[in-house]
């Protein structure tokens, strides 16, 4: 039983630029995912090759018959009627569509408009990333977030703590070792990879930077990596949102909106 007389301190945790970068970045990622699914719908399959190669198809979402949706992953087919392959057409009806209307921008099938949204918000996301990097570097908390070699041996103890195999988390600063690993991976590995695989899809970029497209295995392969990158980002976002809720939704949301975070008992301000 906790008592309310515990002294709780408010600390100013996030600079204005950090907060703006976070929310613009979050908005941009949401738009990029839904407009990206719109673009995927125009050719709802992914091949592990440079040119389209049905023999190397990793994923396809189609409608073999009216009213039936089918998803095929590595040659195994699943009936996914109502969600993938056959579902909401975004105008109130149903039809053959890889991703349904409630997941895409715009809701109805429109490749040209999906591309407009996607390319516009790719800039928003990129500027948000740069703004976040600058603001964190200036404020000095970039160092707190980055995974360091000394954190590696703390990764398992932290995971063990989450799995309730350990009573106490390993000692750490503002961010625990798993958080650092997640943020470092998402911001410095995944985000750049998603941008680069996206650029590799562009014939104009390919013409000035062949090695980029070759690096990812060709254009269709880059499309596959771009999609996988999106799935990993969705995975991160789900865990991130879960953690925000689990760690105190209102306190976390306040800190990312106003900048002020209420420290809990025993919680350190950080190094």
């Amino acid at each position: 039983m906790r008592y309310s007389c515990i002294v709780q301190r408010l600390v100013y945790r996030y600079a204005l630029l950090t907060r703006l970068a976070h929310w613009f970045g979050a908005l941009a990622v949401a738009v990029l995912i839904s407009s990206g699914l719109q673009i995927f719908n125009a050719a709802p399959y992914l091949d592990a090759a440079d040119r389209s190669t049905p023999a190397r198809r990793v994923l396809s979402i189609d409608s073999p018959a009216d009213g039936v949706g089918r998803t095929t992953i590595f040659g195994r087919s699943f009936t996914t009627t109502g969600v993938l392959g056959w579902g909401s057409d975004g105008t109130g009806g149903e039809g053959a569509r890889a991703f349904p209307g409630w997941l895409t921008i715009p809701a109805y099938q429109d490749l040209a408009d999906g591309r407009r949204w996607h390319f516009f918000f790719a800039w928003v996301a990129s500027f948000a990333w740069i703004a976040w990097l600058l603001s964190s570097a200036v404020k000095g908390n970039l160092g707190e977030m980055l995974l360091r070699p000394s954190d590696l041996r703390k990764l398992w103890p932290m995971q063990a703590y989450y799995l309730r195999l350990r009573r106490e988390p390993p000692p750490h600063g503002t961010y625990n070792p798993l958080q650092k690993a997640a943020y470092t991976f998402v911001l410095f590995v995944l985000a750049p990879l998603i941008v680069l695989t996206g650029l590799a899809l562009s014939p104009g970029i390919d013409a000035i930077a062949h090695p980029l497209t070759v690096l990812f295995g060709g254009r269709q392969f880059a499309r596959l990596w771009h999609f996988v990158g999106m799935l990993l980002f969705v995975g991160f976002a789900l865990v991130h949102i879960f953690q925000v809720v689990a760690q105190g939704f209102f306190n976390q949301m306040r800190s990312m909106i106003s900048g002020w975070y209420r420290l809990r008992e025993n919680e350190s301000v950080g190094p």
């Binding site: 949401a30 738009v31 839904s34 407009s35 673009i39 995927f40 125009a42 050719a43 440079d50 040119r51 389209s52 975004g90 209307g101 409630w102 997941l103 895409t104 921008i105 715009p106 809701a107 109805y108 429109d110 490749l111 040209a112 408009d113 591309r115 407009r116 949204w117 390319f119 516009f120 800039w123 899809l201 562009s202 014939p203 104009g204 970029i205 390919d206 013409a207 000035i208 930077a209 062949h210 497209t213 060709g218 254009r219 269709q220 499309r223 949102i241 809720v245 939704f249």
Partner: protein, 247 residues
């Protein structure tokens, strides 16, 4: 419990709001135009970069080259051309040129040919590799000698949609003179098939497939394209696709 319900419902509302809000904004002409400004930025940044599309080897050629365009023309003019193996076909080069041209298929075939094995990237997402043989567009333009006011080459085609809207495309002069921009006569060593754009199709390997117009009948050199059809410089451009199709 109420607190959890509130949290869960606010997250669900945020997610469910995405598509309807995005769709409403998409249908707002002002916002739609604002989003489209990004395409102009891309054209300014990348429209005339010096790069060359990657060239492949014979082994890389796609076994199946998809047909994904307006339907093959069914007009009596086109059927008649086809029946006579395009012996009566002429490619006109008109507009802001010193010397307008009318070139028969035989004349085009006698000009020095370039072969390129390049990848065709469709805006929908698929790609196919083919060996294209034909006359570099810049050779034709050098013969026609564009005048000073020339800024764009407009490609008028023989196909049209079910509303009767004809297909057309445009390139600026730098893109038209790009060494790989080709008036293709052959695909994989055979005369181009009717459904691939016989007898002459444009190939622009540094941009998306909709730039590579099929069934080209006339090249008009102009200072501007805003007075043509929808004013955006191409059939698909008039329907919202970017004029610079390198992305």
């Amino acid at each position: 419990m109420k607190r959890r319900l509130f949290i869960a419902s606010s997250i669900a509302a945020a997610l469910a709001g995405c598509a309807p809000i995005g769709t409403a904004l998409n249908d707002n002409p002002g916002f739609h135009h604002f989003l489209g400004l990004e395409g102009s930025l891309d054209a300014a940044l990348m429209g005339n970069l010096p790069g060359l599309a990657r060239e492949y080897s014979l082994a890389d050629i796609s076994k199946h080259f998809p047909v994904d365009s307006l339907p093959t023309p069914m007009t009596s003019t086109y059927r008649s051309l086809l029946e006579h193996d395009f012996r009566n076909y002429t490619l006109s080069v008109v507009g802001a040129v010193e010397r307008p041209l009318r070139l028969s298929l035989a004349q085009l075939q006698r000009m020095p040919q370039q072969r390129q094995i390049t990848r065709h990237d469709c805006v929908e997402g698929w790609s196919a590799i083919g060996a294209w043989t034909g006359v570099p567009l810049r050779r034709i333009l050098q013969l026609a000698r564009p005048r000073r006011e020339a800024r764009y080459a407009i490609f008028r085609c023989m196909d049209s949609d079910d509303q009767g809207m004809p297909y057309y495309e445009s390139l600026d002069m730098a893109q038209a003179y790009q060494p790989q921009t080709l008036l293709a006569l052959q695909l994989n060593g055979e005369p181009i098939r009717p459904d691939h754009g016989a007898p002459v199709r444009l190939r622009v390997p540094t941009q998306l497939g909709y730039k590579s117009a099929k069934w080209v009948r006339e090249i008009e050199v102009l200072g501007s394209f805003t007075h043509l059809y929808g004013g955006k410089g191409g059939y698909w451009e008039d329907q919202g696709y970017e004029w610079y199709a390198g992305i």
